[in-house]
């Protein structure tokens, strides 16, 4: 989501999918984030938190409303508010120890994916409430305690307890998001509406790999997410169409090279293959690698290594096969975004 601001914050690949904020209303400080998924580091970043602080959900008086949305700079923010029981002493006059905590959950999605927001916020809130409602007060106490200048063993214990709960909350959010997208895309892709098609295009553009035909399971991919009916995976007819699969893509930082391992999935030796790695610069496609592979053994994995071009992050890896009569057929195309692939130092 970092691109909605002009700052240079580091991007987490899962931000392309959604960001979840769990917040509470602190009687002394206002809206305070308890945790942010997938990256917790920007919870204190004022610019990052801006749309959250002004989200209309904060001004709702009641839980009656299912949820409330805000669209801001290309992102849709779905907010839901509920009250959780509390036992902590409040720091404002007129509030009792058992005055309930105000908890707000906000899910932000790129507008292309807003079609998924309604259900996601409902499911996520329900699960978090069911499993953590009674413990939220401890997480809040832990957050308040971590601001204390002197941390006695008791305070430290309180902080540790809250942090532990947050780990479980984060795990639940992570699991729920993966399951949710996997499920709804599969369901909706059976008869895609225009909005679903828009969402699917967005996923493809951002490089999320959903197809069961691919075994690319790197950072930034949702292994369990499948665009198509998973039973199709077992079909021999489809399987034979997937002639190649990418086993891994790495960016070697020291040598500034990309390393792509590709497997010939077929049971026969393939001949006359053209491997290219290109990038687009000012509307023109430029090759950084053009390699002929005369033969490729059945099931063999080959390693293609190519230097990258400074300041260019996106590349296209293609395998084309010639039929010996001058006709060339594209067998595999894979978009590579250096920001999303595995990085190794040597």
């Amino acid at each position: 989501m970092s691109d909605i601001f002009n700052g240079t914050v580091e991007k987490n690949p899962h931000e392309d999918l959604c960001v979840v904020y769990v917040l509470y209303f602190d009687e002394k400080k206002g809206q305070i984030p308890l945790l942010m998924y997938p990256d917790d580091r920007f919870r204190n970043n004022k610019r990052y938190m801006r749309p959250i602080n002004f989200h209309p959900v904060w001004f709702l008086e009641t839980e009656e409303l299912d949820h409330i949305d805000l669209e801001y700079k290309g992102y849709a923010f779905f907010g839901k508010k509920f009250h959780a029981k509390s036992q902590r002493p409040k720091r404002r006059a007129g509030l009792e120890e058992d005055t309930p905590e105000t908890i707000v959950i906000i899910v932000s999605l790129p507008v292309e994916l807003e079609i998924f927001g309604d259900e996601l916020i409902k499911e996520l809130t329900e699960k978090l409430r069911n499993q953590f409602e009674d413990q939220l007060t401890e997480v809040i106490e832990s957050g308040i305690a971590s601001d204390a200048v002197i941390k006695t063993p008791k305070i430290q214990e309180r902080i540790a307890k809250g942090n532990k709960i947050k780990v479980f909350m984060r795990e639940l959010i992570d699991k729920e998001i993966r399951d949710y997208f996997s499920r709804v895309i599969e369901k909706r892709s059976e008869s895609p509406s225009l909005k679903t098609q828009k969402a699917i295009s967005y996923f493809s553009l951002k490089g999320f790999e959903f197809s069961p035909l691919s075994n690319l399971r790197g950072e930034g991919n949702f292994a369990s997410v499948e665009l198509f009916d998973s039973t199709i995976q077992k079909s021999e007819e489809i399987r034979t169409k997937s002639l190649f699969s990418i086993a891994s893509i790495n960016f070697i930082e020291n040598s500034q090279e990309i390393e792509i391992t590709v497997q010939n999935n077929s049971d026969k030796e393939l001949k006359n293959l053209h491997i290219t790695i290109t990038h687009v610069k000012e509307y023109f496609e430029k090759e950084v690698m053009n390699q002929e592979v005369e033969f490729w053994f059945p099931q063999e994995e080959l390693l293609f290594v190519s230097p990258i071009v400074p300041h260019i992050d996106e590349y296209l890896f293609s395998i084309k096969k010639g039929d010996g009569r001058g006709n060339i057929e594209n067998k595999l195309s894979q978009r590579i975004d250096l920001k999303l692939i595995n990085k190794i130092t040597s």
Partner: protein, 158 residues
């Protein structure tokens, strides 16, 4: 294991597979212990031995497998490199055989195959990098199959 030669039929020469990773790492570690070949374990990764394509470079790691046990007993890396003078030179690098299989003809089988491959790539010549203190016995073995010493490589490590 006795000092007898191993039958050619008992050795399979093939390309490296990712499943050979551990076995090749062990062989390279043995070689490094003997000659300090500059092995850094983190740099020999699962994919390192795969047939590799890079601009101006082709690389294959050949494996000698002992058929009766399926064991990896010898390995060697071959490279075809176009140098700055435009020559296409083939290199045999990190040639190593497992302890119990040294002197049993396995290395020669592997080298013959390597030379055959480098010829098919169109290499003008084949070079082997040997440890500086390689003994005359080893030089004579290579001389018998046509390799003559032509260069001494010096290295400064940073």
């Amino acid at each position: 294991m006795s000092k007898e030669k191993i039958n050619d039929e008992d050795i399979i020469i093939r390309n490296y597979r990712t499943s050979d990773y551990q076995a090749t790492l062990e062989i390279l570690k043995e070689l490094h212990k003997l000659y300090d070949i500059g092995l850094r374990e983190e740099q020999w990764r699962e994919s390192s031995g795969l047939r590799q394509f890079k601009p101006n470079l082709k690389r294959i790691t050949l494996i000698a497998e002992f058929k009766p046990t399926g064991e990896v007993v010898s390995m060697g890396i071959i490279e075809g490199v176009k140098n700055t003078l435009g020559q296409y030179i083939g290199y045999l690098d990190n040639w190593a055989t497992k302890k119990g299989f040294i002197g049993k003809h396995v290395g020669k089988l592997l080298a013959d195959k390597a030379i055959q491959i480098l010829q098919s790539w169109g290499c003008e010549s084949v070079r082997i990098n040997l440890p500086y203190e390689a003994d005359n016995k080893l030089l004579n073995v290579f001389a018998k199959v046509g390799f003559q010493p032509i260069l001494t490589v010096l290295e400064k490590r940073f």
